[in-house]
């Protein structure tokens, strides 16, 4: 049970070192080691500690948050296609954040507003898709996609009426770009805390994946558990969006790939999602920085290019 997590942890480390070394200027491994020990040239230290390390950690935290949020929503909806981006949570969070920015609020209020937006988006999608019956996959996805389109329209409207000097600061929310991340720490802390919080619930989630009735018959208090997951997934999404804007499909690809390899035990899948999601986004961001260097691509472009085919493949396979 520990082995896959150790391997993923090792991969994450490799990805972080790679991200530190690669870029417009390549820093070889021995020099990275020197900087990490508090030595090395001033230029290297500034480059690594002030630019690349915060950005890499932000990418890691964002990827981890999104992947765990995706894994949680998939269990909650018992549907491997659920993902915060596809279901419009990211859109809702972005609208919340943009509204707060438009009103000239501070960073904390922007995060709070993004959280409220993500919560509202989830409530809207779940409420509408639920209707009088149960959550059928097609109904849920359709609702999510349409609501996401609605958020898109609201975002465009807000951008149209925003004074132009505020625009650059807002645009990054929509592209999904870690280069504007101010600090990686809130996201990292939320990621670690939520994993610690969710681990004692992980076996409950395994049982919930068999359906709410079966879970209740096996001693799970289904409603409180569902609310916990729902709130947590919204919090994780909102934190990811406030760190790096709306980045799509990480929550879809990562848990899916992991389930193929590791099975569906949430005690492994959830921490593994955090590690693998972080690794994926670090690698995607490194690619985004280097592929047409010195120009940079928003990382959301890379994840979407990976995610769209994966999503279509999954949809095609699920009858």
């Amino acid at each position: 049970m520990i082995r896959p997590l150790l391997s993923l942890g090792f991969l994450a480390l490799v990805a972080v070192v790679l991200a530190l070394g690669l870029g417009s200027v390549t820093v070889p491994l021995p020099e990275i080691w020197q900087v990490m020990q508090g030595e090395g040239s001033a230029l290297n230290r500034a480059l690594l500690l002030e630019l690349r390390l915060p950005r890499t950690l932000a990418a890691f935290a964002t990827g981890g948050l999104l992947a765990v949020a995706g894994a949680l929503m998939q269990v909650l909806l018992r549907n491997p296609l659920a993902d915060p981006y596809v279901l419009g949570l990211s859109g809702g969070a972005a609208v919340g954040a943009l509204l707060a920015m438009l009103a000239g609020m501070g960073t904390i209020l922007i995060s709070g507003s993004a959280f409220a937006g993500a919560l509202l988006a989830t409530l809207l999608v779940f409420g509408l898709a639920h209707g009088t019956g149960s959550w059928t996959p097609s109904r849920l996805l359709l609702t999510g996609v349409v609501v996401a389109a609605g958020w898109g329209a609201v975002i465009t409207l807000m951008l149209a009426i925003t004074p132009s000097y505020k625009l650059p600061g807002m645009l990054y929310w929509l592209m999904g770009d870690v280069s504007y991340a101010r600090t990686p720490w809130p996201a990292l802390i939320v990621l670690v805390l939520s994993i610690v919080l969710i681990m004692p619930l992980a076996r409950n989630l395994n049982v919930l994946a068999r359906g709410p009735m079966q879970a209740a018959a096996l001693g799970v208090s289904v409603r409180p558990l569902e609310w916990t997951i729902y709130l947590l997934a919204s919090l994780l999404t909102a934190t990811a969006v406030t760190t790096a804007g709306s980045i799509g499909f990480v929550g879809l690809i990562v848990p899916h790939m992991l389930r193929l390899v590791l099975g569906n035990d949430q005690r492994i899948i959830l921490p593994a999602s955090a590690l693998a999601g972080g690794t994926l986004l670090v690698l995607a961001d490194t690619l985004a920085r280097t592929v047409i260097a010195p120009e940079q691509l928003p990382v959301g472009v890379i994840t979407a290019l990976l995610g769209v085919p994966t999503f279509l493949y999954l949809l095609h396979r699920s009858r």
Binding site: R78, G211, M213
Partner: protein, 260 residues
């Protein structure tokens, strides 16, 4: 050993008047069969007894406590349920499926130990699905999945076993196997309460029978007093021929002029 009682219980079948309220005493050692036509509320009754559906009136009592005052986890240690329909949205192996039966017995930080594994293996062997333990559930036949579900309940090992048509999809040999296993469990002190479609299985293996009519009427009691051909004909709106075989009555539906 726990016992399950219902006090003036009226199950909530949509669009039906209240009917007859149920005062059941399900005691250790008893094997109950619930018989009734489609839509009579057999599954609803099972789910209500398990506390998964609210009753319209009355209450369910587990030992001396009202079911609704108990925590789900405490209920699950005393009472388990095999559902008629199951969801498998995510791939899971047979062994993983049996092991979720241990869920109510483990604390949040605990994971399954050797003894849990042993219980699961024992249950899978008893249901003759031990050779499938590494297979994915989705690759099994309906009857094999049914046996895995019963093995999961056996791994859970509650005092009270509720089963919704446990012989669904099973071939003849495994029907007998499962009914014998349930009877053995009852004889070792469990209480077994199951919905059945096969009158003859009920006649041969059940100590008690509950007849549930579409209009909400019900009657219950020891099997030999309940299995009256005239009552059963009225229950199913179907003429029956009764013969005796292997020491138990055998009910055969009449082919022509089947309506009463």
């Amino acid at each position: 050993m726990s016992r399950l009682r219902s006090r003036d219980l009226v199950i909530n079948v949509p669009g039906r008047s209240d009917g007859y309220s149920l005062n059941l005493n399900i005691e250790p050692g008893q094997t109950w069969g619930v018989l009734g036509p489609n839509g009579a509320g057999k599954t609803t009754l099972l789910h209500t007894l398990a506390g998964l559906l609210p009753a319209r009136h009355g209450e369910v009592v587990l030992d001396d406590t009202l079911l609704k005052d108990l925590k789900r986890r405490d209920i699950a240690r005393q009472m388990g349920l095999v559902f008629q329909e199951r969801q498998d949205s995510f791939p899971a192996t047979v062994m993983e499926t049996a092991l979720i039966g241990r869920h109510p017995w483990l604390s949040p930080w605990e994971s399954e130990q050797g003894e849990d594994q042993a219980l699961a293996e024992q249950a899978l062997t008893a249901l003759e699905v031990d050779h499938l333990s590494d297979r994915l559930l989705t690759t099994l036949s309906g009857g094999e999945r049914q046996r895995v579900a019963i093995a999961t309940l056996m791994t859970q090992n509650p005092d009270i076993w509720l089963l919704d048509e446990p012989t669904n999809h099973l071939d003849l040999h495994h029907q007998v196997k499962v009914m014998n296993l349930l009877q053995d469990q009852a004889q070792s002190g469990k209480a077994v309460f199951m919905c059945l479609h096969d009158l003859n299985l009920a006649a041969r293996w059940c100590s008690h029978v509950l007849l549930l009519y579409t209009n909400g009427d019900a009657c219950w009691g020891p099997a030999d007093s309940m299995l009256e051909p005239s009552a059963l004909e009225k229950l199913y709106n179907q003429k029956l021929i009764t013969v005796e075989a292997d020491g138990a009555p055998l009910f055969v539906p009449v082919r022509s002029g089947s309506n009463l």
